[in-house]
Amino acid sequence: MGDMTQKSEDINKDLTRGVLQTTRSWWMCFLFFGTVLAWGTGCFVWQLVHGIDVYGMERPNYWGAPIINFVYWAGVALSGTMISAILRLLHAGWRRSITRMTETLTVCALLVAGLFPIIHLGRNWVFFWLVPYPNERGLWPNYKSPLLWDATAISVYLVSSVLFWYSGLIPDFAVLRDRTTGWRHELYSMLALKWKGSDREWKRLRGVSAILTVMIIPVFVSLHTIVGWDFGMSIVPGWHESIFAPYFVCGALYSGAGAVLVIMCLVRRAYHLEKYILPKHFDNVAKIVMTIGLLWFYFFAGDAWSDWFTEDPTHINWLVYLFGGYKWALITLAFFGMLVPLVTLPFKRLRTSPWAMLAVGVSVNIAMFTERIIVVVPEASRSWLAWGDYTPTWVDVSITIGAFGLFGFLYTLLSKFIPLVSLWEFKEGEVVDAVVTVGNAQVPVTVREEAIG
């Protein structure tokens, strides 16, 4: 590690290119997602005007596409911070190229998820009644309800993820400040908070990063735990399970890890980051997907097994639905969520192929979206007193597609303002990693990182 400036300059040039240059592809993406978002927004306005019965929800299925979307997007939001925080905690050196894009994934997915509790309200315009401020309505948020725990947890996770994301961005904003002029320079000067890169600042940044890393893990676990408790705290057979909380967390991590694979592939291709996002990154994230997939299956099977084992007719109804009218959902889940990862992930050649991993990521997300359908619909369809069914309407489907549009729109927009690979973390990696010749081989070495705490 001699002259650091040339390497630094190359890193700065490569990783800020996406921010400083706007290509036609970027505009096409932006317009495409914007259009999809506009369609979804229009459908939401349609729902505002015509009422909530434009959705397919009818008794007893009072939760349908909006809640499925909420659970799905909250799940996707989990993995970004998980990858970043847990890999930091475990001192995994290969994390540096992907932490920023996964943290951005979290922020965008969480903004999408946070809209759905509002979307699924009967009177969306009074959503602010959830905010605990003194009022003359004679009502107060009921903190004994899991739905309020949900609102609180989402808010806490949103604030935490934004702080976690932003604290890592400050040094990169400083680099952008120094490389831009005009309104960009003003913007980045403001965002960089007078960052100089002094050892004092770096020490504090590492300190706060360590504390945020350790503390954000229980926050994201508690978020999806509480989402699981939306169902687990009820007495609806099939929902009233003690395993729902960890089961939901695992499902969230599974779908989120799949989304990370998708984002890695697309960002690498879009911004030509082949030098920074290497096959080994796909390999390692794929192993994480495989591990979490097995864990998720363990919880899913445990849940199904314990309901079957009771032989209690009320507990078993959702399984009857699952193997009956919702067989298509089970087959989709089994194929995309179990079979596809099982036949691809054990093979290194496929694990290190970005496009194969894109396919696996998409497959996992299809499966996990279906899994949310399996969790919500069959149980609600057959509760204590009423039997029913749920068929999504065009509004349901449009809102779902609109959510993907919103996510794409936000991610594309943010990619114009922030580098999707962390400049300073990558440069730090260049300092602490090296290659040594041992015998006839080149072996990577790394400096042991200081323990957190």
């Binding site: 590690m1 001699g2 475990l90 050196g93 899991p146 229980p218 676990v221 735990t225 408790w229 687990g232 705290m233 009820s234 007495i235 009233h240 399970e241 003690s242 395993i243 729902f244 909380a245 960890p246 363990y298 919880f299 445990g302 849940d303 097994w305 314990s306 309901d307 084992f309 009771t310 032989e311 209690d312 507990h315 602490v432 090296a434 040594v436 041992v438 015998g439 072996v443 990577p444 070495v445 790394t446 400096v447 042991r448 323990a451 705490g453």
Partner: protein
Amino acid sequence: MLDTEHFFDNPSDIVESDEVASSLRTIMIRPGVRRRGLLFFTTLLCSVLVIAAGVVVWFWGYPAQRNNPGFWHFSLISMLFWLSVTQGMVAVSAILRLAHASWRYMLNRVADVASLFGFWVFAILPFLVVARGRIYVLGASAHSNNVWRTAGSMLFDSLAIGTAYLAGWMLLYLTSIPDFGALRDKLPADSKKQHFYRRIALSWQGAAKQWRTLRLAEGVMVFGVIVSFVASQTVQGWDFQLASARDWDSSIFAPLYTVGSLLGGLALTALVATATSHAAKLPNLVTSLHYDNLGRFMIGLGLVWFYFRWCDYLTAWYGNIPEEWALQNNRVTAFPILAAVMVIGCFVVPVFGNMFRAIRTSPVGLCTISVCVLIGLAVQRFLDTVPTFAPNYPLSALIPSAATILVFAGLSGMFVLTYLVAARYFPVVSWWGLSKRLSRMHESTLGNGSVDVMLEDPPIWET
């Protein structure tokens, strides 16, 4: 610049260094059996306890305690406790191998030896089969659900537990082969010991092909150990607690018991490693770095344990279905002190105690925390089964008697005896693991500081 020029400079210096050589010393200079000293008396005491427990169970228990389910219940949960923590130790060792933890080398052998407790378990398993019948009556009366619905669960139990121990034995043996080879080469030729190690070293020569095969086998076995461990704890969790809890078939018992087993295994690893370093006079065996990392791992597992326990409690409390809540509530209201001991032992002490660096990095601190964890886990076994049975039986039948305490002591003696015997044949620290660790890390100067530089470990199945 990073000084990277000195890796593998002098492998023979590393292998011949005192630190590495000391790992074999306990076997090489092992004197004949001495009839004095702490180790001798410990062995004697454990042997007496084991024999006494055996006599109590087989010669007094069967004739005299046929109709006392409490006796069998306590004996059963004592055995299951030791089963879970020993399997947990092996699983912890496997997880550290999988994660390439650079600090694992001192602890792997100490944890892997716990799999040898399986020999005792197989000896006791027949008693388990019979004992279940004795406990069966507790749940069958006054309720429509039988205690064990499926007749074949005993088979699943045996298969799962057996597979987990078998995987542990294989991992222990495989990873000891290079050490046996070193002992074969260092012991006086044609001595009985050397002959013994020559046989079990299986013509190990340290050839590149042999190392490659060993690494691959280690990788496969690590997965096998983890999967079989999870299956074993899952089956135990489902089989006993799921069935014995009337109307509250909590789906979280399997992962709860898996995590509890890991937590117990971690605690016991800390205790055993500390005891071994003193007994084998290897003060550098376990350093503050190991305690620090074990403590951090314990914080994580303690939090997960509490998380699962809290999910179980909250789901019953919030649902407020009378039969379910009655059972959950019974655990706390009928046995408030025990419930507090369980939560304090398994959550408060390991999580909050380990947050203080001074406690976490000291042997006394971490060992004290480990003892609290083990007590908490033992109480958990009691609390998860007794409230189910309590309404059907007088409480006096479910309070431990002198006989059941003796049984627990006997099982504890079995565990200690396992290590005392194993230490005579297995090096307590992996000789080749130590060599590997020392050769893969060295100090380098960078700028004005000094840093530890490590070779990155390839994935466990790649050489």
